[in-house]
């Protein structure tokens, strides 16, 4: 199947700063992918290039098989929701009306339902909305558009935890009824971890991790206990972090572990805690040149 997104060697440089460095990946249609990374990692630049709002310095970008830049055919099949969207002097309902004309899949029913869920006043000028409400407006547009490719760039600025959960629930519910390709960039990883089928981690303009979300769970763990036992247990495994106090040590180790390993850990009286997705991303980003692409992760986890 043609990938929904196919990026090869994408590079974007500004004066004295490389925002994206030979980024290469594919995204299959009909999936939710998490785009993770620190602030300034390059997530926003990548999304804007995908949406044709920025231009690459080098490399190739294909969305639905064609370059999105200045391409109306492709652009009307996708929507990018940014937290820093600039609006003219119009009201909330005007913004929704305009979006309804531009997106063939627009659902007025979903839009009005979400408007109520987020308690957005339709007659208020967008410029007068609080930051959280502006984000909510972006989310309403992004979901109701039902665009084949829906890109969200940290769309939850200013939203409290309850509103964010409303977003995740609404996203999942509509995705289940109307499958599409979704790419969601976020730095609040653990909250959204359940949504993702795939995860792409970017750090300093490079992809450091690209794998199925489920493959990454349990791939690394924190081993804690008496120093000697910990060192004995972790010998031969890749270690990402080591901390020690008195005779206790805590080591972040890359697995995978089988039943024997677990039994051995029990007998050594060691405590094993799997790394959450967020912790995994933090460690992956901190590594100098980790090899955490699909193939190597699959090797590790196919125990």
């Amino acid at each position: 199947m043609t990938p929904a997104i196919s990026v090869t060697g994408l590079t974007r440089g500004y004066r004295g700063h490389i925002a994206l460095d030979r980024v290469t990946f594919d995204i299959e249609p009909g999936s939710i992918t998490g785009l993770l990374g620190r602030n300034g990692a390059g997530k926003t630049t990548l999304l804007r290039i995908l949406a044709g709002q920025e231009f690459p310095s080098a490399g190739q970008v294909h969305v639905f098989g064609a370059s999105p830049a200045e391409n109306d055919q492709v652009l009307r099949r996708m929507v990018l929701i940014r937290e820093d969207q600039v609006y003219p002097d119009i009201k909330v309902r005007h913004a929704l009306a305009a979006a309804s004309w531009c997106y063939p899949g627009w659902s007025a029913e979903l839009a009005s339902r979400l408007l109520a869920d987020f308690a957005l006043p339709p007659d208020r000028p967008v410029k007068k909305l609080s930051r959280g409400m502006r984000s909510a407006l972006g989310i309403v547009i992004g979901l109701a558009a039902r665009a084949e490719l829906t890109l969200f760039d940290e769309p939850y600025a200013g939203l409290d935890a309850v509103a964010r959960q409303t977003f995740y629930d609404a996203l999942l519910a509509d995705y289940a009824e109307h499958p599409r390709t979704i790419l969601l960039s976020t730095h609040l990883i653990d909250e959204a971890a359940g949504l993702f089928e795939r995860v792409i981690v970017i750090d300093r303009g490079r992809i450091v991790l690209a794998a199925a979300a489920d493959d990454l769970r349990g791939v690394a763990m924190t081993v804690s206990g008496p120093v000697l036992a910990v060192d004995d247990f972790t010998a031969g495994h890749q270690v990402w972090e080591r901390r020690q106090i008195a005779s206790q040590a805590s080591v972040v180790m890359v697995g995978p572990l089988d039943e024997d390993d677990w039994a051995r850990a029990r007998s050594l009286r060691l405590d094993l805690e799997p790394l959450t997705l967020q912790q995994l991303v933090v460690h992956a980003a901190a590594q100098p040149a980790p090899d955490m692409t699909d193939e190597s992760v699959m090797e590790r986890t196919s125990a």
Partner: protein, 243 residues
Amino acid sequence: MRTWVSVARYHLVRPAIFVGMPWAIMAFSFVVNLIIFRLVPPSSHAVQTGHGVVQVMNTSHYTGAVAIIYVFFFIMGVFGTGASLPFGLALGVSRRSYYTGTALLAVALAAADGLALTVLQAIERATGGWGEDLHFFRVPYLLDGPWYLTWLTSFVGLALLFVYGMWFGIVYRRWNIAGNVSFIAAQVTVLLAVALLITWVHGWTGVGHFFTALSAAGLTGLLAALTAALLAGGYATVRRVTV
């Protein structure tokens, strides 16, 4: 095509800006002019007649206040790109389509409003200047001739200012205020260079002759050419704008 219509609809989603305000301002200006000329006592000027010098009352009131709608078209042009471009691009529209859709809207508005101005001019003529001999919609030389010429000149004039405003808006989006300042400076420089060139070739009398001999229709043609040039300039600038 469908995209251009979507862009036009997007601009008109709040009719106040592109439809309501120009006419609200015009109406206000008109009423102000009418009241002023009612209140101010008429002046007079001296005229040589066969019986000696006679003081004649200036009953005709000329005002160039109709220019206000032209100025507003410039403002709409700036708004149509400067303020509205970011969200427009977010709606899945290419820069080319956005520009074309906005330009087509400009043409439609200029044609419609130009027609309205023509109609009002006719009414003004028919009512003897609204009963006060007020020349609001009639401007000597430019907007005083047959209705079709008035329509054409108004149309081109309004379109010209809208397109000029569009270019300013795009320059703002691409290079911010500093960009606009440079843009103005560049234009002034060009004009200065042209003036210097004409002076150097002693061509001012020639230029003077050209313009005095120019009819309203000819001037309209010149303005149309200028509009086309501004359209091209704006288009070139919008191609790489990022929001």
